[in-house]
């Protein structure tokens, strides 16, 4: 008779709610008639994310003291709960963005089922407390995302993007798994706190394992030089999927990276802070310079997400309480800006019927004042301008780096921001400074479809982006209580 561990169902509830919804959606796929499937499945998926959002808030409220549950397999603390809140928010907005996507009706319910499954996997992943659950969560959401990327067979490049993502992602997962095996082999422990307590710090095998774990997680966070899949996958995937991937995957991967490094490898802190700092600098340099050369807006935003991974890794590399706070805070406006920007791209794409480039973004600002204004806000936010939360995000990671004594990371961040001004403002330039008439662009379907849901999603992103600037203290308080779960 195997002893069953006590299961804290409440701690698992945000993840379980979405898993349940994924199963329900699969049933919808075969039971609901074709005409109503799109509405029913979108409604259910949205409901699933909202339920999960509410449960995560409850969990955050009821877990002031971090504990491990289910035989030390998962954490129940505010660090995970806050990440789950953000993930659920991203998922809900992603459903709004996806609703009017031109996609075949037959797989629409599976699409939302996979979205819910990916969300559930990420929520499980951020709670991971040992190497097994870490890998399980990673694969769970990754596999869902591989399929989502390739789901639209009518879209040129979607299948190719899915394949690329699958192969490179598999390399990343394998690296993580190999690293975990080395760490387990050296310490004989799976759970993070016991690895830290095992006293094998600095031994060669552990350090190699640590490096491979960092690399594996960096694949998911699309930090350079592990970002090769990012531009292709982001470009090829249906835009609502890209919106979800760019925000939610980043949240999950970075939150877990910080947790693993801080709880499992505190004795090797000196090593991993430098390693992460180097990855941050490479991401900043590569992401920003490569973005300068792109014409396709989705690719620009993909490289921008690489550079943002760099900024957030500055917070990780700082390995202090202010860095943890900075990371959590940064993720809030970043997720909103990234989702919102891709949502605007999706809207433009549906209007024109072709991939959105800098060229055919022309005139958007005047034709669609709301989308133009929103995109403007997102771009300024990503650039780190005041009146958006992106400003305090950058400010905080710089403060964290200064606190740790890594002043050169501030220099790198500042130079990266200078470079990024060119392409972020380039998007604003295309939207406002050139007339559509001048470039002879004609919207594909005449007047644009009325996209109230997408508009509502974009509005929510704008509110978060701007609101996180004015309400910075309450959000920092939340981030601080989340960061208190980490051992700094």
């Amino acid at each position: 008779m195997i002893a069953k561990p006590h299961v804290d169902w409440f701690a698992l509830s945000p993840s379980l709610a979405l898993t349940g919804m994924a199963f329900l959606l699969l049933i919808v796929a075969v039971t609901v008639r074709k005409g109503a499937r799109r509405q029913v499945s979108a409604f259910l998926a949205f409901g699933g994310f909202v339920t999960s959002f509410a449960l995560a808030i409850l969990l955050d409220d009821k877990s002031p003291v971090g504990t491990t549950q289910v035989h030390d397999a998962i954490f129940r603390d505010r660090w995970a709960a806050l990440a789950q809140i953000l993930l659920a928010g991203c998922g809900a907005v992603a459903v709004l963005v996806a609703y009017r996507e031109r996609m075949r009706d037959e797989h629409i319910a599976e699409y939302y089922a996979l979205l819910c499954a990916a969300g559930a996997g990420m929520m499980f992943f951020v709670q991971a407390a040992n190497l097994m659950t870490l890998f399980l969560g990673l694969e769970w959401f990754s596999i869902a995302l591989y399929v989502l990327t390739a789901i639209d067979i009518d879209l040129i490049g979607s299948l190719e993007a899915g394949l690329k993502y699958l192969i490179v992602g598999a390399v990343g997962s394998a690296t993580l798994l190999f690293g975990s095996a080395l760490v387990y082999g050296q310490t004989g422990q799976l759970s993070f706190d016991k690895i830290a307590a095992s006293g094998h710090a600095h031994s060669a095998m552990l350090v190699v394992g640590l490096a491979m774990i960092i690399a594996g997680l960096a694949f998911k966070a699309s930090a350079a030089p592990f970002h090769m899949w990012t531009p292709d996958a982001y470009q090829g995937a249906p835009t609502p999927v890209t919106a979800f991937m760019s925000s939610a995957t980043k949240i999950a991967a970075l939150v877990v990276t910080y947790r693993v490094l801080a709880t499992a490898f505190p004795h090797d802190e000196r090593l991993w802070t430098y390693a992460v700092a180097v990855i941050a600098i490479v991401s900043l340099a590569w992401g920003n310079i490569a973005a300068l050369l792109q014409r396709n807006v989705k690719r620009i935003l993909a490289y921008s997400s690489v550079s943002h991974a760099g900024f957030m890794l500055i917070g990780v590399a700082s390995a202090n309480a202010i860095g943890a706070r900075a990371l959590m805070y940064y993720l809030i406006p970043y997720a909103a800006m990234s989702l919102g920007a891709f949502a605007v791209v999706a809207a433009r794409e549906r209007e024109l019927g072709v991939p959105v480039t800098l060229q055919n973004l022309a005139g958007l600002g005047w034709e669609r004042p709301f989308f133009g204004m929103s995109m403007w806000i997102f771009m300024l936010g990503m650039l780190g301008f005041p009146l958006t939360g992106g400003f305090f995000g950058k400010f905080y990671v710089f403060a964290a780096a200064y606190d740790h004594g890594f002043w050169w990371l501030i220099v790198a961040g500042v130079i990266a921001t200078m470079i990024s001004a060119y392409y972020y403002l380039g998007i604003v330039r295309s939207m406002y400074f050139r007339d559509a008439a001048e470039l002879q662009l004609a919207p594909a379907g005449g007047s644009p479809p009325r996209e109230w849901l997408l508009g509502a999603g974009v509005l929510a992103c704008v509110v978060v982006t701007v609101g996180s600037f004015f309400a910075v203290q309450p959000l920092i308080d939340v981030a601080q209580s989340a960061a208190a779960s980490l051992p700094f």
Partner: protein, 484 residues
């Protein structure tokens, strides 16, 4: 109530911008609504000035609310006497620019006036912020609407203009951001009235480069010619009249009082740069082929002069610098608006194609004459008072600085008279149609009030130069680090 005055001056135009953006009115009424808001803004400034206690060197109309407790960042605004004068220049010039935009009937009125009003609020914020991070926020927020104003309403080469403008200013302000992060964390607070002095050369340079780009000082002026030429004239007026003052104000409020020893060590470098800016700008203005070229390079040379006054580190120089900032704001705004009026009639600003516009156009001739004569600092004008104070202050630092400054005054006469006669006198230029009208009532309503302010100041320059630093002597106030 009084403590709200500064906040009102910041928030009123920003709220007005929102109102203008959403109000369901026609373009004409949008313009008149924006005009009304900018006039109400002037009304609030007059209220503030009438309640201001000029005998006290302390911060007035101040208001502080906790914002980011974690790092001791707060919403802290207030005004010193010199901030009050700069805010005054801002609201007056912005009102003139808004009215001009209304008069010429800018396309896409909703967006245009919303951006203009937003700019007003942001600039007032720069001059009144007493928290370093808030200062930075306004400093950057100012750039956002200007970028679109130039890019969407500018001339044919506007894409290049915006690109150059943004690259320079973003580089400058990010250097400043790095300096702000480090300085603020070292001090444990971002409150300018509580931050103590620092000895770090790097931080000082971070701030100074940002301010030198904004001002602009040689060799950081590369963005200026194309930007000022391609902007709509009223935006050029705002840029050269007010936005450039944000850089000079930064030197006065942050770089000099917060880094006293470093500023003292680097004084000669700054003075040399200022002198080069002054002479080089004047020479370029003298050789400029077009009206805007003269105005923009004269504007650059004036920045050099003001920095000369600031880094003289004495009462005369500082008082003169503040007076000259206000003077120059009014003069350069008038001149850019006049340039716009000339360009509307002839569709060019090239001297080769202009000339002879005085004949039959008395109002135009009078206005250009008046603005030009004050601009070249003729004795008895307020610009003369400002320049004289600065030169007297610089003289105390070394006679050579005063000689350079005096030479520049001669150059100013040369370029300004050349510009005046290039437009008004000589033969009638090929681009000047016979039918070109004299200034209309609407245009006079824009430019005459600016000139009246200048004439009023000419009668009583001491209104500013004697009331810029409260009861104390200027030098004492600044060297105490403005920590009250």
């Amino acid at each position: 109530m009084d403590s709200w005055l500064t906040t009102i001056l910041i928030v009123l135009p920003m709220a007005g911008a929102l109102l203008v953006a959403v109000a369901p009115l026609s373009a004409y009424w949008i313009g008149s609504l924006a005009t009304l808001i900018s006039l109400v803004e002037i009304g609030f400034w007059i209220t503030a000035a009438s309640k201001f206690d000029f005998s006290s060197p302390a911060l007035q109309f101040s208001q502080q609310h906790s914002w980011l407790r974690d790092l001791n960042v707060s919403y802290h605004v207030g005004q010193y006497a010199f901030s009050l004068w700069l805010v005054g220049a801002t609201v007056v010039v912005m009102a003139a620019a808004v009215i001009y935009g209304w008069w010429v009937g800018r396309e896409r009125a909703r967006a245009y006036f919303a951006l203009m009003l937003f700019t007003t609020g942001a600039i007032v914020g720069v001059f009144t912020a007493q928290d370093l991070l808030l200062f930075y926020a306004f400093f950057e927020a100012m750039l956002i609407p200007l970028y679109v104003l130039i890019g969407a309403w500018g001339g044919a080469d506007r894409l290049r203009a915006t690109l150059t403008f943004v690259i320079y200013t973003v580089v400058g302000s990010l250097l400043m951001l790095a300096a702000i992060v480090v300085y603020g964390l070292q001090q444990g607070t971002f409150d300018l009235t509580k931050m103590g002095p620092s000895n770090s050369t790097w931080l000082f340079l971070g701030f100074v480069v940002a301010f030198a780009i904004k001002s602009p000082l040689f060799p950081f002026h590369g963005w200026m010619p194309v930007t000022y030429r391609q902007s709509p004239p009223e935006v050029s007026a705002v840029l050269s009249g007010i936005v450039s003052k944000a850089g000079l104000y930064g030197l006065l409020r942050i770089a000099i009082p917060k880094f006293p020893t470093v500023a003292h060590d680097w004084r000669n470098v700054l003075l040399v740069l200022a002198a080069i800016t002054l002479v080089y700008g004047s020479l370029l203005a003298w050789r400029a082929p077009d009206l805007r070229g003269v105005v923009l390079y004269s504007s650059m040379s004036q920045s050099g002069l003001i920095v000369l006054g600031l880094f003289a580190f004495n009462d005369l120089g500082l008082d003169g610098a503040v007076l000259q900032m206000v003077n120059h704001a009014l003069i350069s705004a008038s001149l850019f608006l006049i340039a716009g009026m000339v360009e509307r009639r002839t569709s060019t600003g090239e001297f080769a194609l202009l000339g002879g516009m005085a004949r039959g156009r008395p109002a135009l001739a009078t206005v250009i004459m008046t603005a030009g004569i004050i601009g070249l600092a003729v004795p008895l004008s307020t610009a003369f008072a400002g320049e004289f104070l600065i030169l007297a202050g610089a003289f105390q630092q070394g006679w050579a600085w005063a000689v350079v400054g005096a030479a520049a005054i001669v150059l100013a006469a040369m370029y300004m008279l050349r510009a005046i006669s290039g437009v008004l006198h000589k033969d009638v230029g090929p681009a000047v149609p016979e039918s070109a009208l004299d200034l209309r009532l609407g245009e006079l309503a824009v430019v005459v009030p600016l000139l009246l302010c200048l004439i009023g100041l000419s009668a009583w320059p001491n209104l500013i130069s004697g009331h810029a630093f409260g009861g104390n002597q200027a030098h004492v106030t600044i060297s105490q680090g403005l920590q009250k």
